[in-house]
């Protein structure tokens, strides 16, 4: 019987051949672009490519140059400030709005439509609108001054020290609606009986949220965190539209650094090194999450 088995068994490679052929685009994209492309960039970040990629390896030179560049340091600082604050604020505001929306309110659809519509707009549109609202001459500052408070200053887009907060305001406006939606979905997933039990026990609402509901929503929080965080690392168009990196280079971000060095300064090696650092940042966020999400399931 064992002698017959190999002859009868169809070749594994040709089983469901059509399905495999139909999956070729997916396989090519997964292996060729996502895996291969990323590896290629990492490998070439160790070369001294300028206008065209060249395989002359120079060790960590590009990375040393990168970390010695003040523009890169500013980019990283901006990303850190923007990232941490936008995580905190979008989580807190998103959760509060979701909790308010979850009080069996009227006009829920209207409110949700209003909170979420900025998410449908591009970062370019977002950046340009807020550039106009924050315009010191005609915008918020101009209006408060014309009301009689002459010394009022609020010109984030023209002040290198606070420009990143101007971008943060726009970013939050665009993105909190999404967080609200995700949180609301999470709140709706909480069993109604939990609320009843808490009410029977006479636990005030804010304590129920803080000590029962939020811990139960941990998976939603983690997923939201990962989604926002990976979006933050990619932030590019918003800065381009709102400030073009200015004033000076006070609002530069890593994604813009990469683009400028690859496609404008024609210094590919620097661009590759910077994008490798971006990849590393994402890996630091993703790997613990993947471990929690998928490693946890195996244990439990």
């Amino acid at each position: 019987m064992t002698g017959l088995a190999p002859a009868k068994r169809p070749n594994q490679l040709f089983r469901n051949l059509t399905a495999k052929i139909a999956s070729i685009p997916m396989i090519l994209i997964a292996l060729g672009i996502f895996l291969g492309g990323s590896l290629w960039t990492v490998v070439y970040s160790f070369t001294n490519s300028k206008l065209l990629p060249r395989a002359t390896f120079v060790g960590f030179d590009q990375f040393e140059r990168l970390w010695a560049s003040s523009r890169w340091i500013i980019s990283i600082q901006n990303l850190a400030i923007y990232g941490i604050l936008s995580l905190i604020f979008s989580m807190v505001i998103g959760f509060l709005l979701a909790a308010l929306m979850d009080q069996k309110i009227r006009f829920e659809n209207t409110f949700r439509t209003i909170f979420l519509y900025p998410f449908a707009l591009s970062f370019i549109v977002t950046g340009l609108v807020w550039q106009w609202i924050l315009n010191p001459e005609f915008g918020v500052q101009g209006i408060v001054r014309s009301l009689g408070w002459e010394s009022f200053t609020f010109d984030p887009l023209y002040n290198p020290d606070i420009v990143i907060y101007g971008i943060l305001i726009a970013g939050l406006w665009q993105g909190t609606g999404l967080v609200m939606c995700l949180m609301l979905a999470g709140l709706r997933g909480i069993d109604e009986d939990i609320w009843k039990a808490a009410r029977v026990d006479g636990i005030p609402m804010w304590r129920t949220y803080l000590f029962i509901v939020i811990p139960m929503m941990r998976p939603v929080f983690i997923t939201t965190l990962v989604i926002i965080a990976s979006g933050i690392v990619k932030v590019y168009d918003l800065v381009v539209a709102q400030t073009s990196g200015g004033p000076g280079n006070a609002s530069e971000v890593p994604a813009k650094y990469v683009y400028d060095y690859m496609f404008q300064a024609q210094n590919l090696g620097q661009g590759f090194a910077a994008s490798t650092m971006m990849l590393l940042t994402v890996a630091i966020i993703i790997i613990p999450w993947a471990y929690l999400e998928f490693g946890g399931k195996k244990r439990g």
């Binding site: 399905a19 997916m26 519509y117 449908a120 370019i124 209006i143 690392v233 910077a274």
Partner: protein
């Protein structure tokens, strides 16, 4: 859309009534409509809603004013004299570099990019999702995992290898090239969407079709496709807004004469030459935002479902 939501509420109402009949009165005592709690609740929501609506309002108001009025005053004030001139100018006359034919060029470029990109990316992703859900083969889950992890990798990391690949294929800088790029980077989320949807369909359907002798494509076109129409709509909403709003790929993978609308908009507004015409800029911004906004307002719940499907289930 209104009909669907009414139906939903009615259905929910019936459920509530039948529950009540089954188990007697339940829930809290009805509250008075005007209570301290409600004032706080609706007050906060109302203020938040104002904040979110403010930029849209400012855009509309500014775009309807003449330049002298914009220079005089308050960006929040409604226009004293409504003029549509800024809209006409933004659409047909605004300048980017040497071209002075307005945003209309960018609009049509975006349309030309949008249609093939949406069709191709959804076609490829739906077949991949179907194959992943129903025709698993050795390694298929691995490829899928790579795709999903790839969704989190910044585009900047993969963009140059894609440039090289497209250059080798001879389509760098062309419409075909950009369609390929949108297909590639739309893959993770769309494949996830379709895979989850097809996996949620009863497997007996698939098995019955197999026993009746249907093959891969027959099952896809005759059974899966007709059943998956809602998810195709969700995917379309995702892709239409995503591709229309794209900026980075437009800048990297096209030439100036085929720049999509977002890129052209940015060039018009942020150009350093000439006097800044804020009203024209805002009209141009609104025109660019109009397409995704219309899609959003028309699609309502489906839009939410689209983003939540990718996000929460992932």
């Amino acid at each position: 859309m209104a009909n669907i939501s009414t139906l939903n509420t009615t259905a929910a109402g019936f459920d509530a009534v039948s529950d009540q009949v089954a188990s007697g009165p339940r829930g809290r005592k009805p509250r008075r409509v005007v209570s301290g709690r409600n004032i706080m609740l609706y007050g906060t929501l109302f203020v938040a809603a104002l904040y979110y609506l403010l930029p849209l309002y400012v855009m509309v108001v500014t775009s309807l004013k003449g330049m002298p009025e914009v220079r005089m005053g308050n960006i929040f004030a409604p226009p004293m004299e409504i003029t549509f001139e800024p809209w006409v100018k933004a659409w047909a006359e605004a300048c980017t570099g040497l071209n002075c034919d307005g945003l209309s060029r960018g609009f049509w470029n975006s349309v030309r990019i949008l249609i093939p990109s949406v069709v191709v990316s959804i076609a490829v992703a739906s077949v991949s999702g179907y194959s992943l859900a129903n025709w698993r083969f050795k390694g298929s889950e691995l490829f899928f995992s790579i795709l999903i992890i790839g969704a989190f990798i910044p585009y900047q990391v993969m963009i140059y290898p894609v440039v090289i690949a497209l250059r080798e294929l001879g389509v760098y800088g062309t419409l075909t090239g950009l369609v390929i790029v949108h297909t590639i980077f739309g893959m993770p989320i769309l494949t996830l969407l379709f895979r989850n949807y097809f996996a949620s369909l009863p497997v007996e359907l698939f098995k019955a079709a197999r026993i009746d002798g249907a093959g891969f494509w027959q099952i896809y076109f005759r059974i899966m496709l007709p059943m998956a129409l809602p998810i195709f709509v969700v995917a379309m909403i995702l892709q239409v807004t995503g591709i229309w709003n794209d900026f980075l790929f437009g800048v990297v993978f096209t030439r100036p004469d085929v720049y999509p609308m977002t890129v052209q908009l940015n060039n018009i507004v942020n150009s350093v030459q000439g006097v800044k015409e804020y009203n024209v800029n805002m009209a141009a911004t609104l025109l660019t935002g109009a397409v995704p906004l219309i899609v959003y307002f028309l699609s309502g719940r489906l839009f939410v479902r689209g983003i939540a499907a990718g996000a929460v289930k992932g």
